[in-house]
């Protein structure tokens, strides 16, 4: 396998390990040196780094893309070689973001532990919940990693993800994941149905013309989903004729709903999405150029 990237190397080789260590040491050294400079210089360095990394994506967006590029293609000219280089850099950037995102989770775990250990130490009135949380975290970690380890070390030909090959660790992981976590997730989600009912009962009042129109259209859209109502109504209106046309079919809940959704709902959502998208564009532009003024700083 030909490797042409400085940061790769043959598997398990000394050169690869050296590059991994360098990849840790160099950014750490950069990080500590940035901390030692003045805040003004630090701001400039951060803004420059921000501009450069964001600029890669901007340049990638502006530069013409290779068309129908196949894996074995090579660039024929300067334009294509720059396009190839930019498009090759995007998956690398995505991988880096994936790895950084995974590491950042550790920060969140630290926050959870620091708050709840503090609560337990101070004997806060909710400390039993904190104890339950920490025990759950360790149980899930233990059985999750034990399951993974046993999967890796399984005898040849044995796929530990299949239920017929499970041992105690797999059953424990399955109980904690499917039996406890997933059911609690589902229970929390099902609360929404009850909350929708109470919110709808409390809030949906015909106090104005707009509210009346809103409720009427909402009623039609709901009735479209209810087969027990929509089907008899369809059969009722199907009998209406206008010449040779089934004129009545225009008045089924399905067709009226399609009209409402395609004409009013979709266009309104598109309008809001345009506004939100332009707002996000402006915000991203200000962040990229480091001209965003936050009220907190």
């Amino acid at each position: 396998m030909i490797w042409h990237n400085f940061w790769t190397g043959p598997n398990n080789s000394f050169l690869l390990w050296l590059r991994i260590i360098l990849a840790f040491v160099i950014p750490s050294a950069l990080f500590y040196s940035i901390r030692s400079v003045s805040p003004f210089t630090r701001k400039i360095i951060v803004a420059a780094a921000f501009f450069f990394t964001g600029g890669v994506y901007v340049f990638y967006f502006l530069w013409p893309q290779p068309i129908h590029r196949q894996p074995l293609d090579i660039p024929r000219n300067l334009s294509e070689s720059i396009g190839f280089m930019l498009s090759d850099s995007v998956p690398v950037a995505a991988d880096v973001a994936n790895i950084v995102g995974a590491f950042l989770l550790g920060l969140g775990v630290y926050s959870v532990f620091s708050i709840h250990v503090d609560k337990i130490r101070k004997g806060h009135r909710d400390s039993p919940f904190s104890i339950a949380l920490i025990i759950s975290v360790f149980l899930m970690l233990f059985f999750g990693y034990l399951n993974y380890y046993q999967t890796l070390k399984a005898p040849p030909g044995v796929n530990m993800t299949l239920p017929q090959n499970w041992h105690f660790a797999q059953y424990a992981r399955d109980f904690l994941f499917n039996g406890v976590l997933q059911q609690m997730d589902a229970a929390m989600f099902s609360l929404i149905a009850f909350y929708i009912l109470s919110a709808a009962y409390r809030a949906f009042r015909i106090r104005s013309i707009e509210a009346t129109v809103l409720l009427a259209t909402a009623l039609i859209l709901v009735l479209k989903v209810m087969g027990v109502v929509a089907d008899p109504w369809s059969q009722l209106v199907h009998g209406l004729h206008f010449g040779n046309n089934q004129f009545g079919d225009n008045f089924t809940f399905l067709n009226i709903s399609n009209f409402l959704q395609n004409s009013f709902q979709s266009s309104s959502i598109r309008a809001v999405d345009f506004g939100v998208g332009i707002g996000a564009l402006a915000m991203a532009l200000r962040l990229w150029l480091s001209i965003d003024k936050q009220t907190g700083t």
């Binding site: 890796l152 976590l181 087969g227 959502i269």
Partner: protein, 325 residues
């Protein structure tokens, strides 16, 4: 000790302020009872579901598709039924797929568990199971969804590079060594991307992959309005929404579209389709959609009733106030 008597409330005031607990109890009973009673409610599939089914059936047998499984058991009421129906169709057409997630780290494990369940159903029906590695692989979770979708549009091999799944020898191997992805070089070699999602991943795929491949979305009821503009503009080839969408798929799997049965009767007719779309006769097509659809109808009836009761109460109170004034 003087006790202030509770002021007598009018009927209108009572109707406007029913206790939450009553409403929740009524909803609990009404939504639970239909689960125990098998009722087949007549159904006319929506155009977006018909397009979803039609385009899925048009994928040539033996192709490869990407199945973005961005749901967990919190939305299993809708997403699980969608996933089951889609995978049943893929199994019956011998379409290989890569299941992965860009939304939730739990999702790949949930998909794996669901595949085990569906294979269990296959065994019960004395049908061949869908083998992991040979027929489908698990691509895992990608924390950076936007970047991953971007990378997929440029190079599928690089986007999924380094992802491993368990091979028949029990060891973790590169998924591109599996029979599923061995002949896949670029995104054009994949016939469709099917996204079963409860979040905004649909928007991400439209932005990054909308012009490169066919997109089919199976979304929850809440995300339906967000996906429909992309369907009506032609950027997405089909959308199935919520429990109704699941029931639509099951209905079409059972009866086809514009397809006469043995007696010549057409169970599901639609002007939206030119010609007819096939079905899967003699197979177990009905599932979660048909189970939950009656409960959905009953729950929606309770919602409508609650809103009507609240508004009647409001009008009664208004009338009393105008009478006293």
């Amino acid at each position: 000790m003087a006790i202030n008597p509770k002021p007598n409330r009018s009927i209108g005031e009572v109707l406007q302020s029913l206790p939450r607990q009553w409403l929740y109890t009524i909803l609990l009973i009404v939504s639970t009872v239909p689960l125990f009673i098998q009722v087949l409610i007549p159904n006319k599939p929506e155009d977006s579901s018909i397009d979803f089914y039609q385009n899925l059936m048009k994928i040539p047998d033996g192709s490869v598709v990407l199945l973005s499984s961005d749901w967990t058991n919190s939305t299993r009421g809708e997403s699980r039924g969608e996933f089951d129906a889609i995978v049943k169709i893929l199994m019956r057409k011998h379409i290989k797929f890569v299941v992965y997630s860009i939304a939730d780290p739990q999702a790949p494990q949930v998909a794996r568990d669901e595949m085990n369940y569906l294979n269990g159903l296959q065994i019960q029906a004395h049908l061949p199971t869908y083998q992991p590695w040979t027929d489908w692989v698990n691509g895992g979770y990608f924390p950076n969804g936007d970047g991953t979708a971007n990378a997929m549009s440029i190079s599928l091999r690089k986007a999924f590079g380094g992802k491993k799944d368990i091979a028949p020898n029990g060891q973790l191997e590169d998924i591109f060594l599996s029979p599923v992805l061995a002949n896949v070089q670029t995104i054009q070699d994949v016939k469709a991307l099917i996204d079963v999602t409860a979040s905004a991943t649909a928007t991400t795929y439209v932005q990054k992959l909308g012009q490169k491949m066919m997109l089919l979305f199976a979304v929850t009821g809440v995300m339906g309005p967000e996906a429909l503009p992309y369907y009506s503009s032609g950027q997405v080839s089909g959308v199935t929404i919520g429990i109704k969408g699941v029931y639509d798929l099951e209905t079409m799997m059972q009866d086809g579209v514009n397809l006469p049965d043995a007696t010549g009767k057409v169970a599901v007719s639609s002007n939206h389709v030119v010609g007819s779309i096939g079905n899967f006769p003699g197979m177990s097509n009905l599932g979660q959609g048909s189970q939950y659809y009656p409960a959905l109808n009953a729950s929606l009836a309770v919602f409508i009733l609650a809103i009507v009761v609240g508004n009647i109460g409001m009008f009664m109170v208004k009338k009393e106030k105008s009478r006293t004034q």
